[in-house]
């Protein structure tokens, strides 16, 4: 069972690479190089701040775009192109297919982020000429960005199992936006009453909680990321992704392929 998931994941990674997704690293490298060189003109004394802010924001945005663009087609593309026929007629369970696709895209994003991390640290070394201990927290910020990718990938995959790519992209994007307001939504729900409260609370907890995964500004100022936050976020993302993927499996199990 596990080897089939691994094979499907590996194939998904291979597809992404042959789709030239890794070329985005060139654009990223260019961006970081230009930034590293120009940042000295903006303001001396805050080069480290700007490089980390810019670098991590770029890692997050690039990855988000890739996660959505590839994620929305993970299932729907195979259904449209009928490549699924020869896969599902083999001893591959439908849920294994979903799991394989999920791990394949997540793996692609982790590899991509790894290379980008090297770029960020290289730029940081260039502008500040040495590392300080607090730079290690940049790794924590990168880890949280990867957790964001896990959530988005799960959501895009979920929508892909029953919706067309355009709608999947729109839904996934808006859930990311609203998810950043999740904290505000919870506060708002606490202030309302009655039916509104019930609806708002439900919405506040169904929506993915992206707001606690944003530590870019913190880390850019050299502040530490609490271990407790790391553990809680990891647990939350694991549980939430599991829920979303289960939803995808439930939908996909009963689909008649055209």
């Amino acid at each position: 069972m596990n080897s089939r998931i691994l094979h499907i994941a590996t194939n998904t990674f291979r597809e992404a690479v042959r789709d030239r997704v890794l070329y985005n690293l060139i654009a990223f490298a260019l961006l970081m190089s230009i930034a590293a060189v120009l940042v000295g003109q903006i303001s001396i004394h805050i080069e480290r701040l700007v490089v980390i802010n810019l670098g991590l924001t770029a890692v997050s945005l690039f990855g988000l775009v890739i996660a959505i663009l590839i994620g929305i087609g993970l299932v729907s593309k195979e259904m449209d192109k009928r490549t699924l026929y020869t896969v599902l007629s083999r001893p591959v369970r439908r849920w294994e297919f979903i799991a394989g696709k999920f791990f394949g895209l997540t793996g692609t994003l982790i590899v991509n982020t790894f290379f980008m991390a090297i770029g960020v640290f290289a730029a940081l070394a260039y502008v500040s000429h040495h590392f300080v201990r607090s730079d290690a927290w940049v790794l924590a910020a990168l880890y949280f960005i990867v957790l964001q990718f896990v959530l988005i990938t799960a959501l895009a995959l979920f929508f892909s199992s029953f919706s067309t790519p355009i709608f999947s992209a729109v839904f996934a994007f808006w859930l990311f936006v609203i998810g950043n307001f999740a904290g505000d939504l919870r506060n708002f729900a606490a202030m309302t009453h009655g039916v509104t409260r019930a609806l708002a609370t439900a919405a506040a907890y169904i929506v993915p909680n992206f707001s606690d995964l944003n530590v870019i500004s913190q880390v850019a100022h050299g502040e530490a990321v609490p271990i407790r936050l790391i553990i809680l976020n990891t647990a939350y993302v694991t549980v939430y992704a599991l829920a979303v993927l289960s939803g995808a499996v439930v939908i996909f199990e009963r689909r008649n392929l055209k």
Binding site: I42, S43, L49, V50, N53, T57, S60, L61, S217
Partner: protein, 308 residues
């Protein structure tokens, strides 16, 4: 030429002409809507809303707004100064997006306070900015220094001393704060105090505009001190000779001066009837308190030599 080649040529020509026209049109649009360009500097007027909209990327957005602050200020300053109407909104947004962006507080405390054409002339907003900084960075002594400076600039020596005192009690506080607390409480209005304040800024700030500003203040302080000394000499002359000197040559002949006195910008002082001393080119010495000619109104801030 074949038909296909003709088509390619025509299409390419249309492409080039259209793009050129587009560029011309955009420039015309820019010229006809100068106001729009000013306002679009802000994009969104509510800082809290903007922070929400930045979806977790507010750090970078703050850095972008900070560069706009620097560009905005530098641009107006290079053209002789002005009102800097957008300085406060920009700094407000910057510090709401990133309350830990320390250079913004230092910049704001200096240039929001200063009167036009050197700054925005908004001391209350400057205080609000720095207090926001203190709330979010309670253990940073630099902010108390900035606050003390604003009160000093407004000649509120008591509050300034109190700010210095507060700041001096923080861990890692520069010992200078304790010294200034005492100095400000006793001799707030003295030139010596002013010299101490502005020298500290000149030495400690990393921002070139702030340092240039401090240097200009120090030159003004020097000129003020010179004027006082020269007027004292004129008074001594009157006591000796019974009338005020006509010009400095008389003071030199009397052995009271060694040569023509020059202000810190290298321009000669002028002796007015009645023993008053003024500077001949007040434009080059902004921030002067004494020594200003009758009815002088500062028009613009010329380019001053950079701080050393």
């Amino acid at each position: 030429m074949t038909r296909s080649q003709k088509l390619t040529a025509v299409a390419s020509l249309i492409l080039i002409v259209s793009m050129a026209s587009a560029v011309v049109l955009v420039r015309t649009l820019d010229r006809s809507r100068p106001q729009a360009r000013l306002q679009e500097v802000l994009y969104v007027s509510s800082p809290k809303l903007l922070k929400r909209l930045s979806l977790g990327y507010e750090g970078l957005l703050a850095d972008i707004y900070w560069t706009r602050v620097v560009q905005y200020f530098g641009g107006i300053h290079a053209h002789g100064g002005g009102q800097y109407k957008l300085l406060w909104p920009l700094l407000n947004i910057t510090t709401q997006l990133d309350p830990h962006l320390m250079p913004a507080y230092e910049f704001g405390s200096t240039f929001l306070c200063a009167k036009p054409p050197n700054g925005a002339g908004m001391p209350d907003e400057a205080i609000e900015l720095v207090r926001h900084g203190i709330r979010n960075n309670p253990s940073d002594w630099h902010l108390y220094y900035d606050l003390a400076f604003i009160y000093y600039d407004q000649k509120d020596y008591r509050d300034s001393a109190e700010a210095f005192l507060h700041g001096s009690q923080l861990p890692d506080a520069h010992p200078f704060l304790k010294i200034m607390a005492g100095q400000m409480a006793e001799h707030g209005g003295d030139l010596a105090t002013a010299r101490m304040m502005w020298s500290a800024t000149l030495q400690n700030s990393h921002d070139s505009m702030i340092r240039a500003n401090a240097a200009a203040h120090l030159r003004a302080i020097q000129a003020d001190a010179d004027v006082i000394v020269l007027e004292q000499l004129a008074e001594q002359y009157r006591q000796r000779k019974g009338h005020f000197p006509e010009n400095f040559s008389e003071l030199i002949s009397a052995g009271m001066l060694r040569g023509e006195p020059l202000d810190p910008m290298g321009h000669p002082y002028r002796l007015e009837p009645g023993g008053k001393v003024v500077v001949s080119d007040p434009d080059y010495l902004p921030f002067l308190d004494t020594g200003l000619p009758e009815g002088y109104v500062p028009r613009h801030v010329p380019r001053l030599p950079p701080a050393k």
